[in-house]
Symmetry: C2
Amino acid sequence: MYKLRILSVGKTKEDWLEIAIAEYLKRLQSSTIIEFVFVKNDEQLEALVEKEEAVVCLDSTGQMMTSEKFSSFLIKQLETNGSRLAFVIGGAEGLPPNLKKKYPLISFSPMTFTHQIIRLILVEQIYRAIEIDKGSRYHK
Amino acid sequence: MYKLRILSVGKTKEDWLEIAIAEYLKRLQSSTIIEFVFVKNDEQLEALVEKEEAVVCLDSTGQMMTSEKFSSFLIKQLETNGSRLAFVIGGAEGLPPNLKKKYPLISFSPMTFTHQIIRLILVEQIYRAIEIDKGSRYHK
């Protein structure tokens, strides 16, 4: 079982986002658990990230990759780190500089997205990555 | 008033997507009308696109740009084309080759997204583009 955590600053409780994400969590439940952790500010975020063994940060300056590449990247991270990985999404001001220096950075797009849309994309790409690894038809 | 159309193959009626998109349409209503047109297949899509004066297609091979660049691009297209523009989203097999050759292509990401998520990103980026052009604080 893969155990992923998504750490982010500032909780937003849009109903549509909860519904959309719940659909992917349900589809993932046989292989993967995703836990969402919300913190109030950068200090809390950094303190929490410290405790994680394996961390990947989402940042606009990060590496962009195809979904296939993200799949290999994710599976490799999970295999190297005992099936655990934490993703970090920064606040409105972006990721704290300490985290930027310390961890691998990935980016979905040169465009700026809302935090809600980033959360949705991340969960869908995690689901897609696992389906690609399984060789399912979802990604076709 | 800007008048945009989003032409796409295959209607999907996810409730969460309707709710999320409705929020942006409401915010846009003082400056922009977005009409969604759904067709069943590529032939219908091509026939419909033929009737449009100004067309931009979303395609994974298209040009990627920042939200600021997309804002300038969109506003320029609207100014050149009497405040009208049609965006085209291809079906599961991608965009018909005829359309790929004929129109400007833009891409949001090297990743593959679902059609639902593409529609959401497009509408949010249109809203963001117009806010950037207005100089509002939304994009900050």
